[in-house]
């Protein structure tokens, strides 16, 4: 079982080069999330895997065999669509059973499997209804059921949660994760929502403009993004980028911010930037990597900045603080226990071990 | 039934004669119908297609002549019915495509010239001689035979319908008011006015067809009676707007004032309905009115549409004022030049047109084929169909001597159409002189397009016929 492999896959829509040479191996039984902003080619890639789109160049291989021209029905994949794609003229039962009927599964077994899937999703009472009688969440369940009832080699999800409200989305996310843990089959999941990607994935493939920006397990991408795009895409609220310059300071290295504050680089990182003194860079700081400096303590690897609070957004567990560093508007996520006021002066500690330094020319993390 | 019996007897007699005399020696004893049947038998099993006007007209070939012909010869007759206005286009379009879809054509004499010049009609002289039909042709009413049979010197069709527009009048009303049948159009006006003045709105003096497509027949007749010529025979300039022409048209407008309101919109049906209902005292119509107003055949299903007559026995027949009735339309039987079975097609028209068979056909109660042979006019059986039938036939016969031909030149339709439009404008209130000036201008345009020399030749050919103009 070598799983799924894409080699040099291209897709053109007229003059638009939607997918530009994707090389990718999808691990067997894993949960892979294709994520990226809209138009990045992630859905196209998924549809090529399903056989719904012609592969213009390159190959899609399953278990070592090229399946470029194999019809969807022969690929043994199940798919959940963003708008659920329920068959409006069939009852819920028939919707779920459809894939089995097409595969000529005996009636008794079909019935049994449909009921099992319905139980699993908690919708046994909906089986006799028609799709138009269902709420959005129920439809989503049916769409899931339709995929789950199949004993497919691969399950494909095309933004299955994007049409749900926030609460349902959270529930379903957990549900899907649980299902994957139970079923242990290959799942490929497309989303533009980095939270879904982070929480669900064994492995994230981050795409932009038809190319893979970075792939790896979720925390790896979070902690060690290779470029500004990846750094900015994952994490919520998004990472702050501030123009700065690397400078030699007290024998060490530091980063000078627009307000002339210098943040010292921790010792472990200094050697990497020794030859870059004087270089203009972007420093990326995640909001959750800034903390209040309550006692004026000096902790190793943290740098202090003094800011004037502009907007305060209490979120319960955290409070978001908005302020400016030079021209740049910055967001910090602080613990919730103290209530700042707009206009208040505040000292923050920046975790310099987790800050990323980016070459503004190449946009790559240095 | 009686006809059928007579037919059987006739066939039996022919067979008997054939047996006794044997071979061609018997030919002199055979009628044209017999010859046609005898010769046609060799084509048994084939099918002939004929285009015929839809409706009543077609009942003849569908119910009578077609089945008889098949019984006698084994040749099937397929009737393609067509709305009368579509017949010419249909014949032409099939000719253009050389389909030979129709073997036998019903040709309105005015179309004949165009069809011949387009090469759509088969010359018939050879067949006439071959199958011994000359003698019986001579029996056809002079005016039809002399005028509607040939283009140039060649026979292209057998006149098959004596469609002469005679005058019908209410004898009882005339008697009551002491009126005599008008012989000039001035008298006609006075007579009509007198009756209207006395009886309107219950009864008007007269009601004529005035709609486009029909009015031009009445106009053509009356204009020529008033001395109008259609063209200058040398320059081919249209003279349809000459003094006689304008006088005739102005007379028509004047006569309308003595007729029921709205007469300008009357077609064939309106004047028929009004005459039968007794609300007009005079009308000029084709021969069927004489039969229908007398109630002949109107109890049959085919004639159930005819407005019921309350004037039976009160109808007198006369030639219209001026004494030159229009031979309006009517049909000739022709053979298509594209036919793939010309011999059989010819034999059918000889048979159907023959003395013997045509006499039966014109007496069919639902017939729209009107007497056209001398032998029809003199037929005793016909004369006894209703009390005044003899008088009726005598009038038709008189019309068959003095009648006037419809204009027929190259592209007749264009001239008729332009004239029809002009006349209709006058019925709508336009000035006769101005309208006829416009018609003349339109005619000149058509003539120019056709080619003046070509048209002059065609017109001369037509005008040289004895009944093109009254003498």
């Amino acid at each position: 079982m070598a799983g799924l492999r894409l080699r040099g896959v291209h897709k053109f829509y007229g003059k638009v080069h939607a997918v530009r040479g994707i090389d990718l191996e999808i691990p067997d039984q894993g949960f892979t999330v294709l994520v990226g902003p809209s138009g990045c080619g992630k859905s196209t890639l998924l549809r090529m895997i399903a056989g719904l789109e012609v592969v213009d160049e390159g190959t899609v291989e399953v278990d070592g065999a090229v399946v470029n021209d194999m019809r969807p029905k022969d690929r043994d994949v199940a798919m959940v669509f963003q708008n659920y794609a329920l068959y409006p003229h069939m009852s819920v039962f028939e919707n779920i059973a459809f894939g089995l009927r097409m595969r000529k599964v005996p009636n008794a077994e079909t019935r049994e499997r449909v009921h099992r899937a319905a139980e699993m999703l908690g919708i046994p009472e909906l089986l006799e209804r028609m799709p138009r009688q269902l709420s959005g969440g129920q439809r989503q369940h049916v769409a899931m059921g339709r995929a789950l009832v199949r004993d497919a080699k691969m399950y494909l999800f095309d933004e299955p949660l994007s049409n749900l409200d926030a609460q349902l989305r959270d529930e379903m996310r957990t549900e899907i994760k649980r299902l994957h843990q139970e079923l242990r089959t290959t799942m490929i999941y497309v989303t533009h929502d980095q939270v879904e990607a982070m929480t669900l994935a064994d492995r994230i493939v981050l795409l932009r403009d038809g190319v893979i920006e970075q792939e790896g397990d979720p925390l790896e991408l979070y902690e060690r993004p290779t470029n500004r795009f990846v750094a900015g895409f994952l994490g919520s609220p998004a990472m702050n980028f501030v123009p700065a310059r690397i400078e030699a300071e007290n024998g060490g290295l530091g980063v000078r911010l627009p307000d002339q504050t210098v943040l010292a680089l921790p010792e472990g990182r200094r050697s990497a930037y020794a030859d870059q003194v004087g270089k203009t860079i972007l420093i990326g700081m995640r909001p959750e990597h800034m903390h209040r400096d309550r006692e004026g303590e000096q902790r190793d690897g943290f740098g202090r900045i003094s800011v004037t609070v502009e907007i305060v957004e209490p979120m319960g567990a955290n409070t978001l603080i908005n302020f400016h560093l030079g021209e740049t508007s910055i967001l910090a996520r602080l613990d919730a226990y103290a209530a700042e006021q707009p206009g208040q002066k505040l000292d923050l500690l920046v975790d310099m071990n987790r800050a990323v330094l980016i070459d503004p020319e190449s946009q790559r993390v240095i | 039934m009686t006809m059928w019996k007579r037919l059987q007897t006739a066939v039996g007699a022919v067979a008997l004669v054939g047996l006794m005399a044997g071979g061609s020696a018997a030919a002199f004893a055979e009628s044209a119908a017999d010859i046609a049947v005898r010769e046609a038998k060799q084509y048994a099993g084939t099918t002939l297609t004929v285009i015929w006007e839809a409706g009543l007209q077609s009942l003849d070939p569908l119910n009578f002549s077609g089945p008889k012909w098949e019984e006698l010869t084994g040749i099937k007759l397929k009737v393609v019915e067509s709305q009368v206005n579509e017949m010419f286009p249909k014949m032409m379009q099939e000719h253009r495509a050389k389909t030979g879809a129709y073997d036998i054509l019903n040709v309105v004499p005015a179309w004949m010239g165009d069809l011949v010049r387009a090469g759509a009609l088969e010359p018939l002289d050879g067949y006439v001689d071959k199958y011994g039909y000359r003698e019986e042709l001579a029996d056809i009413g002079d005016v039809y035979r002399e005028n509607q049979m040939r283009i140039g010197d060649t026979i292209y069709g057998f006149p098959d319908d004596g469609d002469v527009l005679i005058l019908y009048y209410r004898k009882d009303v005339f008697e009551e008011m002491g009126l005599s049948v008008p012989t000039t159009w001035d008298e006609f006006y006075d007579t009509s006015k007198a009756i209207s003045d006395k009886h309107a709105p219950e009864m008007y003096g007269a009601g004529f067809m005035r709609v486009r497509g029909l009015l031009h027949y009445f106009y053509q007749e009356r204009a020529r009676v008033e001395g109008c010529k259609f063209f200058d025979a040398e320059s081919m300039a249209a003279t349809i707007n000459g003094p006689g022409c304008v006088k005739a048209l102005a007379g028509i407008v004047k006569d309308n004032t003595t007729m029921p309101p709205g007469v300008e919109a009357w077609g064939a049906i309106e004047s028929l309905a009004a005459f039968n209902a007794g609300t007009i005292a005079m009308t000029q119509w084709w021969p069927p009115v004489g039969r229908w107003s007398a109630g002949y055949g109107t109890d049959t299903e085919a004639l159930s549409w005819v407005p019921p007559s309350v004037v039976g026995g009160k109808v007198g027949y006369a030639l219209p004022p001026g004494g030159h009735p229009q031979l309006a339309a009517g049909f000739s039987m022709s053979v298509s030049a594209d036919s793939k079975n010309k011999e059989a097609a010819y034999l059918f028209i000889q048979w159907i047109n023959s003395k013997e068979i045509s006499l039966q056909r014109v007496q069919l109660p639902y017939a729209l084929r009107d007497p056209f042979r001398k032998s029809h006019f003199e037929s005793e059986s016909y004369q006894s169909l209703w009390p005044d039938a003899k008088e009726y036939l005598a009038t038709l016969q008189a019309g068959a001597v003095t009648g006037l031909l419809d204009l027929s030149v190259i592209n007749t339709f264009a001239y008729e159409d332009a004239l029809g439009r002009g006349l209709q404008a006058v019925m709508g209130g336009a000035d006769p002189q101005e309208s006829l000036d416009e018609v003349a201008a339109d005619w000149d345009k058509v003539t120019e397009k056709v080619g003046i020399d070509k048209q002059r030749a065609a017109y001369k050919q037509w005008a040289s016929k004895p009944n093109a103009y009254p003498n």
Partner: protein
């Protein structure tokens, strides 16, 4: 048309008295629009005397069905049968071909915008300007006065309409539904048969009814391309206008017979037809 979508303050008010007034106006409009139909109908039942009565008679003394009986006896109803065959077969074939083509246009944008416009513009040409060459062509193929000829012509005549309409209906079916069927194990054809066609049922109905009506009512082609064998009913109606006779009763009776089928089709399928009649402008 759902009443829910109706806004609250229309021209004719909302009180009960106004409702009555609106109802009265509606009845009046209906009477005006149906009176000619009524007149046609009673003319078919009148005797000759009643047809030519002055003043006109508004209802016949007796409902005599003689004219209808004559139409049946003389075989004139054959024209209705011809119309039925020609309209039905051409509708079925046009629907099949047209739906397939529409699928291609809707799903693959085959040939781009220009092909779609070319197809629909084929429908706009007045029949009379092309009928003569069509006649010549059909002569070559031996299609004059044959079912094949008229059926083929009406297929061609109606195809643009079918394609245009069905393209709209298919575009309204989310492509994912079909893709879902494909991943569920359907071949493309199965997906069409089991998913697309059932989902487009309303559209197929509406389109088919109008295709049928167009073929049923068509006159110019039928007049010029037939002789006698496949005469359709509108052409036969004109045959009753003779040079020396006008069979008003037959004209009316055959018209009534020829209108009944379309009327029943339309009355039963009424709610599907709005979109059909508007060539897809209204997604009713």
């Amino acid at each position: 048309m759902s009443d829910a979508a109706i806004h609250r303050k229309p021209l004719f008010g909302r009180t009960r008295r106004r409702m009555t007034a609106r109802f009265a106006v509606a009845v009046l409009i209906l009477i005006i629009f149906l009176f000619p139909v009524y007149w046609l109908f009673i003319t078919s039942l009148k005797s000759a005397a009643e047809i030519f009565a002055r003043p006109p008679v508004w209802y016949p003394a007796e409902f005599n069905l003689r004219t209808f009986a004559v139409l049946f006896k003389d075989g004139d109803v054959w024209a209705i049968y011809n119309s039925l065959i020609i309209a039905s077969v051409s509708t079925v074939v046009a629907m099949v071909l047209g739906t397939a083509a529409a699928y291609s246009l809707a799903r693959f944008k085959t040939g781009g915008q220009n092909l779609a416009i070319w197809i629909i513009s084929q429908r706009m040409i007045p029949p009379i300007v092309i009928v003569f060459p069509v006649f010549l062509m059909f002569v070559w193929f031996g299609w004059i006065d044959s079912y094949v000829g008229l059926i083929l012509l009406y297929i061609a005549f109606n195809l643009p309409y079918v394609i245009w309409m069905m393209r709209g209906y298919i575009e309204d079916i989310p492509i994912e539904v079909e893709e879902s069927a494909l991943t569920d194990g359907c071949s493309r054809w199965q997906a069409l048969r089991k998913i697309v066609f059932p989902m487009a049922r309303t559209g197929i109905f509406a389109t088919a009814v109008f295709t049928f009506i167009f073929a049923w009512n068509e006159f110019v082609f039928a007049m010029i391309l037939t002789r006698t064998e496949v005469l359709t009913f509108p052409v036969l109606v004109t045959h009753y206008y003779g040079a020396q006779s006008t069979f008003w009763a037959k004209i009316a009776a055959l018209s009534v017979l020829g209108t009944l089928p379309v009327f029943f089709a339309v009355a039963t399928l009424q709610r599907f037809l709005v979109r059909g009649i508007s060539m897809g402008a209204v997604k009713g």
